[in-house]
Amino acid sequence: MYLKEFKFYRPGTLSEALEMLSNAENGALKAGGTDLLVEMKKGLRSYSELISLTDLAELKEQNEDAEFVRLGAGLTHSEILDSELVRKYFPAFAEAVLQIGSNQVRNTGTLGGNLCTAAACCDSAPVLIALDAEVEMMNKKGTETIALKDFFVHNRRTVLKKDQILTTVVVKKCAPHTGVHFEKFGLRQGSAIAVVSVAALLTIEDGLCKDARIVIGAVAPTPMVSYNAINAIKGRPVSDFYEKSEILLAAGKAASEDSVPIDDVRGGAQFRRNVLNTLTQRAILTALRNCNMQNTQT
């Protein structure tokens, strides 16, 4: 299993990379390569030019302002896990990233690469979508920003144009009294591909679920927002959120009805719907618990 021949470019700056990308005939951007090289080895994709993003310091930046945290697309999953900003503001995102691949894969694979591969079972996207993240894409003409939920078009397809590079993921800091949680169901504990995943975000005010976000993964061609599950819980008193309560059962059912899962080696469609139902309820309850914990801390 050798790779087919390609020309290899190693730009030192983002503008050099954009120049090379626009000149490439059939080029691909290589970030960590943990998905790309696998697919090239299997013969599923072939490119005449690979442009490495490894040396671009611009893609490794992370910073915050009053409202947002900006994470460079070139940060490896391990760097995300070590990030003070992520640990402080988005611990649930860190939990999701910890479930990507193995240690070794996380040491090489990047945030941007994970999103651009756009696998339906992508582990980093559901939480980020729940957090209302946006992505910045750059080409020689300028920068475009799009909500992450609209970034994915289909399984392994995104809106990213041929001459664009995903540079930054912008994540909005949570409103006060917000809890977030990510649930993943895989067939084993380590290095598992998600069979079903759910991210839940709840904002509580005066005992009511003022705002909610439920994002489901691996049960549709792209990670997607389950609006019906959100409607089932939004505006409701959180005292009614407990195991097997009417509201939670309705939310779980709504999520599984919103999903369009496939049958594959990891599970049948109906199995996925059933797991999704339970996982959604669990994610909501844990997000609520995280929210309460946060309140007692502050």
């Binding site: 299993m1 050798y2 790779l3 087919k4 021949e5 390609f6 020309k7 290899f8 470019y9 190693r10 960590g32 390569g33 943990t34 090289l37 696998v38 080895k41 299997k42 690979l50 490495s52 490894t54 391990s78 691949g101 193995s102 240690n103 070794q104 894969v105 040491n107 090489t108 504990q189 380590g190 290095s191």
Partner: protein, 206 residues
């Protein structure tokens, strides 16, 4: 009953050298064959763009600066094994799923089958051949021997580099932490329990 004594192999003769020799002979036959059909040698790309054709690289491996000729598509695993004859690095799945090919790049466990040799650059590579220092085994290597934590041995190099890295980060890991650290290293013989025991033992002795 007569006991057959195996003939000793000629000095300096190894299975690997034999296989390599056999491979060359086979390749030679193919080349000669195409020559007979009157085919010209395949034209190699001559462009001077980065990455086309053969590249001469120098790489820090196990504390030495090594020279090698590779192509852009050559993975670090292939470069180590075929160019530097460091065959302790094993290629299991060759698609980043089994971690048998784990090496350290600047001390970080990395899959050498998913790393292009040209991308290593100035960073320092440590393979299983570089884990023992001054003729003395690394404590995890000794513990793997003491606890018999290998069977076929194919995953062992990766396991050792992964567990040695864990102990460098965390001198007193729990069994759960060893499990989490080695969860990407697949052993199809099922030595995982012994790997955990050996790693904990090495930690205790370090």
């Amino acid at each position: 009953m007569k006991k057959k004594t195996p003939k000793p192999l000629k000095k300096g003769f190894s299975r690997r050298r034999f296989l390599r020799g056999a491979g060359l002979t086979a390749a030679g036959t193919v080349i000669a064959g195409s020559g007979m059909l009157g085919l010209k040698a395949q034209q190699l790309p001559e462009e001077k763009s980065p990455g086309a054709g053969v590249l001469n690289l120098s790489m820090h491996v196990n504390g030495r600066l090594r020279q090698m000729s590779v192509e852009a598509r050559t993975t670090l695993a292939d470069a180590l094994r075929n160019e530097l004859q460091l065959t302790g690095t094993k290629v299991g799945c060759n698609r980043g799923a089994c971690a048998a090919c784990t090496v350290w790049i600047d001390g970080i466990p990395t899959l050498s089958c998913m790393t292009l040799a040209v991308e290593v650059g100035e960073r320092k590579v440590t393979t299983i051949e570089g884990l023992a220092r001054h003729g003395k085994l690394h404590p995890v290597q000794q513990a793997f021997i003491d606890h018999d934590a290998t069977q076929c041995g194919f995953c062992t190099s990766g396991m050792l580099l992964t567990t040695a890295h864990l102990l460098a980060q965390n001198s007193g890991p729990s069994a759960e932490e060893v499990k989490a650290a080695t969860s990407g290293n697949f052993c199809r013989c099922g030595t995982h329990p012994k790997v955990i025991t050996a790693t904990l033992d090495a930690a205790a002795k370090m």
